[in-house]
Amino acid sequence: MTTALTACLFDTADGADNAVQRLMSEGGLAPGVVDDAVTLRWDEGAARPCSRRRAELSSGNALGDGFWALVIGLTLRVPLLGAAVGGVAGARSGSLAEAGIDETFMNRLRDAVTPGRSAFLVLGARSAWGVLVGEILRPERPDSVATDISARQLAALHQVFST
């Protein structure tokens, strides 16, 4: 079973939070669909996006805060750090490509998470999540981008990030 890191992209700042709320109100998810999840939102007028770990959706396979901190850090925080110091910092630093999270995925996430929008990041089985997006999130029909993580890469991630 292929694991994927998928980002569902919403055109409103509360789109992702609403989607999670609805998922929970409809009885949650079957075990094994989602290992770990986080929502990102950037409110209009705010200086930066904020993230929220969705422990309620996590399973026993969760990678933990450290993993999300690194993904969100490299994708969103480092460029902001570059902005804060007025330099190109972040454009030339770290990559998670070897762990299966390629630069195109990160670029798309950067392009999608802008003021007034939100994203729902999910680590889980690619096929199961596809069904979920197709059926449960049908009202929003969010765009999504995904990057596949092989079993070997997932094992490595667990080795490094599991708590």
Binding site: R48, P49, T75, L76, R77, P79, L80, G82, A83, A84, V85, G86, G87, V88, G90, A91, R92, D102, E103, T104, M106, N107, R108, R110, D111, V113, T114, P115, D148
Partner: protein
């Protein structure tokens, strides 16, 4: 290749370079080969069809062709176009001029292309690359074979070509991928290349290609995907450069704060489409293969319009990458401004969306930017973010000033008004600061000059502000210079010319020392007006030349342009008397009409009334000197002159009308003008008018005394009342054989007019006095004045203005005879000849002899002339002819 001379700023002749991955476009090349036999070839295709690189490929294919390549822009002037299009090759034929992006050419250049296409097609050899059809009348030139039009279909890729491109860019030769892409791309080059690049890194290229090419906004999706597929550093660079038309590697490094920017651009260029490399035109096309021109000085890069569009959308949407790009551009601009290089600063900040920094820049340097012509980026800033601009009074002043300088007085007034409304909300710092106070003073002055408030009330307050705040270290601040410029102009309105000169001189000084040529030029043209009004025409001429020097008039503000034009016209007018050897009345009406047309724009201008009123006065004087008295009267008949004439021009306007009335023998009007001048306490001027009237009434002795009184008491120097009176008196004295007294007056008049080179007094204003020529001849014997000799030479061939103009000008009685609403009849050339002879008082026999026709023929012409003029007698015919200015 002949030298191109100097082109407008922003216009460069740089050649695009082919990317390493390049697909030869044989079909296009063959068509170009045939089509460019015509003088003008137009290649029309949408963005992304591969026009530019297709033409570059053709230029470099087969035989070596020489061509000049220019990227069009609205900055490309008609002069630039003429300069570029008339370059000849070694064979003496016009060299091929390729104009890329011809759809951005200004209307004037397109009109010039059309004119030359019709009049002299072989004088140019053009290839216009355009996204859409240019507004040229095509049918006749196409039929003559001077114009060929090639369309985008020629650029459509065949399936094989598309497959080659997909294989190169997607790094796959999968037939499915190729089919998925080329089916939806319909042979459109940009879509094929971008889609191929977007799927290049995908794990499942077929699925990715199918996803990309489905949906409605195919190109949007593809372009966004291509942008996402770039490296983070490339994305950063493109975001930083999105506002630039072209970028050199040095500029790219500076704006992106990335030392490798040049290399990144080369990477992007090498893959084609995204970025095009241009090299300096000094290198011939043949050098381009060798890799020369890769040094920073000669290479520039241009982002593809589609990529620029994607980057702009990203900038609008925001996000972390955008924040970082804003920060680096902000930093680069701050460094530039710190080093005194503010050109492009505002534009870059607005383009990248760094509004806070743009507003801060306006607060610190807004007035200087507006005066330096660097504030055009204000327009989008004001349109999209009015609140940011309104937050500071200096920003509002900058917007108002920018609009003022562009001649948009209505918007300028609106922002000045908003600025005053915002004043109560100023922070105490702003309220107390010297710059804040002076900005407010400048705003009040500008508003008063636009007619909101009386100058008399505003000027004393502003003078007080300048005294209190405008000294010391701040005296070189552009705001101070701005206040002084407008204070000087306001003082001219009020007739306080000496004070005006002081402020304007200081403004010129600051303008020059602070690198604000527009301010210096505007102050110089205002000073030129002041000097003219003070009777110092020679200084006026020097200042006009100074103000018109360089490209100030073209590059900067509408008002500066107006001032410079006016100052030039003043200069022209002064030379009219000297240069025109023909008698007045014989010179061409067309010339006077041209002058009036040229001035019409100024006259119609709202805003500052002084230049408009002065222009009317000048047009009127010019017409008067040509003997077109009725036209001269009409030129002064406007609401501005009747109700809104500035204080300083009240007496000159009345005197101008008096000179016109003298030539038209309108004694009643002269009496009215005399009363008005007396009411204005212009005693000497009133005496001159009375003297002219006395002459009209046949009382030369009375006139003699009045001329003397005018010479003694007058203060007005424009027109030179004292000199006119002195010469009038000298004419009368000379006629009375009182030669010694006449010579004394002549000497005095020569002394006051020599330096000014003003010949107006010597035109012969006295009806009963001796001719001016006789007076001057005696004067040349009595004095050794070179000026007297020069005047004699000029006037020798022309009789006195009163005698010539009198014969051609309808008197009030004649005008009263002619019914209103008579249509100006169309006379044949023979009828005109006959009319002129009748006016000379010739008999039918004389006319027959001089026109080499029989007397009967003359009688036929006369009867048809009388019928057209609806008259029965010669005197009636002449009255009508004078009234309708047929003579």
């Amino acid at each position: 290749m002949r030298s191109q001379g100097r082109l407008s700023p922003g216009v460069t002749t740089r050649l695009p370079v082919l990317p390493r991955k390049y697909l030869p476009r044989r079909l296009l090349w063959d068509s170009l080969e045939a089509a460019t036999e015509a003088a003008v070839t137009m290649l029309v295709a949408p963005v992304g069809a591969g026009k530019t690189l297709g033409v570059v490929g053709w230029l470099r294919s087969g035989t070596q062709r020489s061509a000049v390549w220019v990227a069009a822009s609205p900055d490309l002037s008609v002069d630039d176009f003429n300069r570029l299009s008339t370059q000849t090759g070694t064979d003496g034929e016009p060299q091929l001029l390729v104009i890329d992006d011809a759809h951005t050419l200004s209307g004037a250049v397109v009109a010039d292309v059309e004119r030359r296409l019709n009049d002299e097609p072989r004088s140019m050899h053009l290839l216009l690359i355009s996204r859409w059809d240019l507004p040229l009348a095509r049918l006749a030139p196409e039929l003559r074979g001077d114009l060929a039009v090639l369309r985008g279909d020629l650029l459509r890729l065949s399936d094989d070509e598309a497959a080659t491109l997909v294989a190169e860019h997607a790094r796959t030769d999968s037939a499915e991928v190729c089919a998925a892409i080329s089916t939806r791309a319909h042979g459109w080059c940009a879509a094929v290349v971008l889609a191929a690049r977007a799927v290049a890194g995908a794990r499942d290229p077929v699925a990715d290609a199918q996803r990309l090419m489905s949906g409605s906004a195919v190109l949007d999706t593809i372009a966004s995907d291509v942008f996402a597929a770039l490296t983070a550093r490339q994305r950063h660079l493109l975001l930083c450069l999105a506002g630039e038309e072209v970028a050199s590697p040095a500029l790219a490094r500076h704006l992106s704060h990335d030392d490798d920017a040049g290399r990144l651009l080369e990477e992007l260029e090498s893959t084609g489409l995204l970025v095009t490399r241009y090299v300096d035109a000094r290198q011939s096309l043949g050098d381009l293969d060798t890799g020369d021109g890769r040094s920073d000085e000669t290479v520039t890069f241009r982002l593809h319009p589609l990529l620029v569009e994607v980057a702009r959308r990203r900038l609008v949407a925001g996000g972390v990458d955008v924040e970082r790009a804003r920060a680096t551009v902000r930093r680069a601009v701050a460094v530039d401004v710190e080093l005194g290089e503010s050109s492009g600063a505002l534009r870059r900040l607005v383009a990248i969306g760094a509004l806070d920094a743009a507003t801060r820049l306006l607060v610190d340097h807004g007035v200087a930017l507006a005066l330096a012509g660097e504030a055009d980026a204000l327009t989008p800033l004001v349109r999209h973010h009015p609140a940011a601009v309104e937050s500071s009074p200096i920003c509002s002043l900058t917007v108002a000033l920018h609009r003022w300088l562009r001649g948009d007085f209505r918007t300028a007034r609106h922002w000045l008004h908003r600025m005053e409304l915002a004043t109560p909300g100023w922070s105490p710092d702003e309220e107390c600061s010297a710059v804040g106070q002076l900005a407010l003073a400048a705003a009040r002055l500008l508003r008063a000059r636009l007619g909101d408030g009386a100058l008399e009330d505003v000027v004393p307050d502003v003078e007080e502000s300048v005294r209190r705040f405008g000294t010391g270290t701040i005296s070189h601040d552009p705001v101070v210079a701005l206040v002084k410029l407008h204070l000087g102009s306001a003082l001219i309105h009020l007739g306080r010319l000496a004070d005006a000169d002081l402020h304007l001189t200081q403004a010129i000084h600051v303008g020059r020392s602070s690198g604000l040529p527009a301010l210096a030029a505007e102050a110089a043209s205002a000073l030129a007006m002041s000097q003219y009004l003070q009777g110092r025409e020679h200084i006026c001429l020097e200042l006009a030349a100074e103000a018109a020097r360089g490209d100030v008039a073209r590059e900067y503000a509408a008002t500066t342009l107006r001032g410079v034009l006016l100052a030039r016209r003043l200069a022209v007018l002064q030379s009219v008397v000297h240069d025109q050897h023909d008698a007045p009345g014989v010179s061409s009406t067309a010339e006077a009409h041209d002058l009036a047309q040229e001035g019409a724009h100024d006259v119609a201008e709202e805003g500052d009334v002084l230049p408009g009123a002065l222009t009317r006065l000048l047009i009127s004087r010019s017409l008067l000197l040509r003997g077109l008295i009725a036209d001269a009267e009409r030129a002064l008949d406007s609401p501005t002159i009747r109700f809104g004439v500035p204080c300083v021009l009240r007496v000159p306007v009345l005197l101008e009308q008096a000179l016109q009335a003298t030539l038209a023998c309108d004694n009643e009007y002269l009496a009215r003008l005399e009363r008005e001048l007396t009411a204005l306490e212009a005693v000497g001027e009133a005496a001159l008018v009375a003297a002219l009237r006395a002459e009209g009434l046949g009382e030369p002795r009375v006139a003699l005394d009045l001329f003397e009184s005018a010479a003694r008491c007058s203060t007005c120097v424009q027109p030179p009342v004292a000199a006119i009176a002195l010469i009038g008196r000298a004419q009368l004295l000379f006629d009375d054989h009182r030669v010694a007294e006449a010579m004394t007056d002549l000497r005095a008049a020569l002394a006051t007019t020599e330096l000014r080179r003003n010949a107006l007094p010597f035109l012969g204003w006295s009806r009963h006095g001796a001719p001016v020529v006789a007076l001057l001849r005696a004067g040349c014997e009595a004095t050794r004045s070179a000026w007297c000799r020069e005047l004699l030479e000029t006037m020798q061939a022309r009789p006195g203005i009163t005698s010539v103009a009198g014969a051609l000008t309808a008197t009030p009685r004649e005008r009263a005879q002619v019914t209103d609403g008579v249509v100006r009849p169309a006379l044949s050339s023979r009828e005109r000849d006959v009319l002129r002879e009748l006016a000379r008082g010739a008999t039918y026999a004389d006319i027959a002899a001089s026109l080499y026709v029989s007397e009967n023929t003359v009688k036929t012409h006369v009867s048809s002339l009388y019928a057209k003029l609806a008259v029965r007698r010669r005197s009636e015919a002449l009255a009508v002819a004078r009234t309708l200015a047929l003579l």
